[in-house]
């Protein structure tokens, strides 16, 4: 087991290092540099030189890479070239926002998706199914950006139900925080809701035609219990897997949603950093994301080995 663990750890470290190198070189392959993006309209060669010197952009790639890696290993991700703020504190502020938004979007998507999926399966061939299908199609095909804009126009401007922008941290004022996040999580959740709805519908249809459902009905159970306790429960396994797989898409959808609603999240920070060629921020963002993916994968693999001893044995062989 220890050998297996060490092997997996070693692999993870190599992957992380490779990801770091790819990003480090990738951002530097983009035309333009932070000095140019920072100086913008007011640039003269002397200030450009000074900025490049200040941030070590004129050092060799090897030196720059060593600086980045050695600092990152000590937990120092540098300062943003654009704003002069510590990247670690920027990440610390942005991550919770995106995590909360994604969590709420999953809640919204699950409620809408599972509900509509069950209705579509139970009322197969009736108007309710058509309506659910139409909604799913819209949810999948309408871009978040447009949907967000319409939601602001109708629900914020015309009806004044929700704020159109801004963010209040949860621990400052939980009610205000949720009020600000209703629209963003609805918008972000729609795409996922559509996927969940399609999945719930098809697994429900499979389940409803299974023998145990017939048995349950024959026992005289009321329809609600048959659908809720037997069919839906068995269908949800697939749905949960889908939600897991869609997490990546959710995070990338958060980029757009955060921009529309001016939320200080991770996605918005990443995109802005790329446009401004803010190397330390881009590198840190990718490093954190890659680390998260690798750690999660590592944990899953370790869990597999706990659950299924054959994997562990093969690892040791």
């Amino acid at each position: 087991m220890r050998r297996y663990l060490l092997g997996r750890l070693w692999q993870s470290l190599v992957t992380l290092l490779l990801a770091t190198i790819v990003v480090f070189l990738g951002v530097r392959a983009l035309p333009g540099d932070p000095a140019l993006a920072l100086a913008g309209e007011d640039r003269d060669p002397e200030s450009l030189r000074a900025i490049r010197e200040q941030y070590g952009l004129d050092d060799s790639l090897l030196v720059q890479f060593w600086q980045f890696v050695s600092h990152a290993a000590r937990g120092d991700l540098g300062v943003s070239i654009r704003t002069g703020e510590s990247v670690t504190s920027m990440l610390g502020g942005a991550l919770p926002v995106t995590l909360e938004l994604s969590f709420l979007a999953i809640v919204v998507a699950s409620l809408l998706g599972v509900g509509a999926g069950v209705v579509a399966a139970v009322r197969r061939g009736r108007p309710a199914e058509w309506a659910a299908n139409a909604l799913a199609l819209l949810g999948l095909s309408v871009p978040n950006f447009w949907l967000g804009l319409m939601a602001i126009l109708y629900l914020s401007v015309a009806l004044g139900l929700f704020p159109a922008s801004g963010f209040v941290p949860f621990f400052t004022n939980p009610v205000d925080n949720l009020h600000h996040l209703v629209l963003p999580s609805l918008i972000l959740g729609t795409g996922l809701a559509a996927v969940i709805m399609r999945q719930t519908r098809s697994s429900m249809l499979d389940a409803l035609s299974a023998d145990y459902i017939r048995t349950a009905e024959a026992k005289g159970l009321p329809p609600r219990a048959v659908i809720g306790r037997h069919a839906l429960r068995n269908s949800l396994i697939v749905v949960v897997t889908i939600v897991g797989l869609q997490l990546g898409a959710l995070i990338s959808g958060a980029v757009v949603t955060e921009r529309i609603f001016a939320l200080p999240g991770f996605g918005k920070m990443t995109v802005d950093a790329v446009f401004q060629r803010d190397y330390p921020v881009i590198q840190a963002v990718v490093l954190v994301t890659a680390t998260a993916y690798i750690v999660i994968n590592l944990l899953v693999d370790l869990l597999y080995s706990v659950i299924d001893p054959r994997i562990r044995v093969r690892g040791e062989a």
């Binding site: 640039r43 200030s47 000074a50 010197e53 654009r82 002069g84 319409m150 004044g160």
Partner: protein, 564 residues
């Protein structure tokens, strides 16, 4: 975002394409209603807007100072900003948006009035300039405190200006010109010594170069001053969430604190112009900058809104690569293309652009035609500076024939890849065809555009300049052979001499005349074809009074207040 600006356009509401889009929006809006399942009332009927464009006002509206009797004390004002300011350090800052924030917390030696004239702010009078132009004496306001409790005196001014001259990466160094020393004969007098006369200095001191930083904070934070900036102002820095928001709160130590009504101002970064307008209308923001020329007419009709507008001191134009062969900062080298070699080809390109039509059809008539770097609103304007070569496609073709160029003559133009810039590029493409040009559009992302521009990797380039009060700052760097942004690689000893003379003259009448001559020469050589001047459009909710904009484009919110 940096200040060198890609064009910003509007959509004409009368084109068939737009009608189609409206139909699409209506269908889509219906779909949304179906989704939300709520009986929403429509936001606003758009079918009656077409006629509105003709009535759109293009008068400057700067806004009025707040009447103390009509505003209540306290409250937070939210300003929707179109871009995130960069470092909140007056020495290092380079973006226009940082100036919006600075004006509330970092006052300057001089300020700009609504008429673009320079007025004292932390100084008590305009500088006394010695006869030889080599010495400026500035009297300072007394009893002024920094937000950290320190006292503003001549030493603080000296520290701030010196920092602008010496700090690595300073954006102020070139603005401050040939300063040799700063003397402080007493706490309320500063004397600036120059090695040669430099007329633009007073204007520079009415911008970030003239902001006075707390020496204690500079000592403590050094190059990290932007993390907790301390100056003199009606408000002081409170917090910043990078790329999202900046908050300033009322400073009780401010010398004129009685005039400050608000408790706090929050700047919220909302990059999309339609979403900014929507935030204004929903009441989530009370001020929104850089409205699109499409949204402005609608807001002008809204009885709950005011649209402040002023003509920019800058321009949008086309730069032609004449001699930028090896990148900026290297000696110019004449390129071997007809458009680089022969001024007649460039004149032909200018003659084939119909500026009037461009302004009317693409910008609802809100922007204005520009044929020179000097705005008609500038104190330095003259008849010579406002001469405009006529739109004449026949003449364009004739000039091309004279230059021995076969038509259609193909030229490649790089432009920013945002939708507005692309629409401008397409309009130009259609226009210049008539004059014998085939314009190939190469859209590139903004940071890449700057890179290509500096490397000289372009034939034709569409970009603008946000503008400064002194004409030197709008001309010298761009067409002077030693100019730091002479990306055209233009090299004219005549223009250089005129610009240097104008720079060193302290006689305004003489400067006006010299700049007129510069414009005449530029229109013959055409290294840069000026096309139009943007309008600074700011939306303000009527729930707030006292928001003002001036010709420098900075939105003044410091003395605003919420209406009673």
């Amino acid at each position: 975002m940096p200040r060198r600006t890609p064009s910003s356009l509007n959509r004409s509401s009368t084109t068939p394409r737009h009608r189609q889009a409206r139909w699409g929006v209506s269908v889509a809006a219906f779909a949304v209603l179906a989704i939300v399942g709520t009986a929403c009332s429509p936001v606003e009927s758009s079918s009656d807007e077409a006629g509105g464009d003709q009535t759109t006002s293009t008068q400057d509206v700067f806004g009025e100072p707040a009447d103390a009797a009509q505003v209540k004390a306290g409250g937070t004002l939210t300003v929707a900003l179109s871009a995130d300011p960069d470092k909140l350090d007056p020495t290092l800052s380079r973006s226009l948006y940082s100036r919006y924030v600075f004006h509330t917390m970092c006052e300057k030696l001089y300020d700009l009035g609504p008429d673009a004239k320079i007025v004292p702010q932390l100084a008590t009078a305009l500088p006394t300039i010695s006869a030889d132009g080599l010495s400026l004496t500035i009297p300072l306001r007394e009893g002024v405190k920094f937000a950290d409790g320190g006292t503003l005196d001549s030493t603080a001014v000296k520290v701030s200006i010196n920092r602008g001259l010496t700090l690595a990466g300073s954006g102020r160094k070139s603005e401050l010109g040939p300063i040799t020393s700063i003397e402080t004969p007493d706490p309320k007098t500063v004397v600036i010594k120059l090695s040669k006369p430099f007329a633009p200095l007073t204007a520079a001191l009415a911008d970030r170069a003239g902001m006075v930083l707390s020496p204690a904070a500079v000592d403590k934070l050094g190059a990290n001053f932007s993390t907790a900036p301390v100056c003199v102002g009606p408000f002081k820095f409170a917090s910043r969430v990078a790329q999202n928001s900046i908050k300033v709160v009322k400073d009780p130590l401010y010398y004129d604190a009685a005039k400050v009504h608000l408790d706090a101002i929050e700047y919220r970064i909302i990059t999309d112009s339609s979403i900014r307008s929507a935030n204004l209308r929903s009441g989530d923001a009370q001020v929104a900058d850089s409205l699109s020329t499409q949204d402005a007419p609608e807001l002008q009709k809204d009885s709950n809104m005011t649209v402040l507008q002023s003509q920019s001191l800058g321009y949008q134009g086309l730069t032609i690569n004449i001699g930028n062969a090896n990148g900026i900062g290297t000696p110019t080298k004449q390129l071997d293309t007809p458009i680089a070699k022969d001024p007649r080809v460039r004149q032909a390109l200018e003659a084939s652009i119909d500026r009037e039509a461009l302004v009317k059809s693409l910008f609802n008539g809100l922007n204005s035609v520009a044929c020179s770097p000097i705005s008609p609103k500038s104190e330095f304007t003259s008849d010579a500076a406002q001469v405009c070569p006529a739109h004449d496609p026949a003449k364009a073709k004739e000039l091309l024939t004279q230059a021995g160029v076969t038509t259609p003559y193909k030229v490649e133009m790089i432009t920013s890849n945002n939708p507005d810039s692309l629409r401008l590029a397409q309009a130009l493409q259609a226009m210049v065809k008539e004059g014998g040009f085939e314009l190939v559009i190469k859209p590139v992302e903004y940071a890449s555009l700057l890179d290509q521009q500096d490397r000289g990797d372009f034939e034709l380039l569409q970009l603008g300049w946000s503008g400064r009060v002194d004409p030197d700052a709008n001309i010298f760097n761009f067409v002077g052979s030693e100019g730091s942004q002479n990306v055209a690689g233009y090299n004219s000893p005549d223009v250089d001499k005129l610009l240097t003379d104008a720079r060193q003259s302290t006689d305004q009448a003489q400067r006006i005349q010299l700049y007129g001559q510069v414009v005449t020469k530029l229109q013959q050589d055409d290294p840069l074809i000026y096309m139009y001047r943007q309008r600074n459009l700011t939306g303000v909710s009527k729930t707030v009074l006292g928001v003002q904009t001036y010709p420098d484009g900075v939105i003044r919110t410091a003395f605003a207040g919420l209406a009673k």
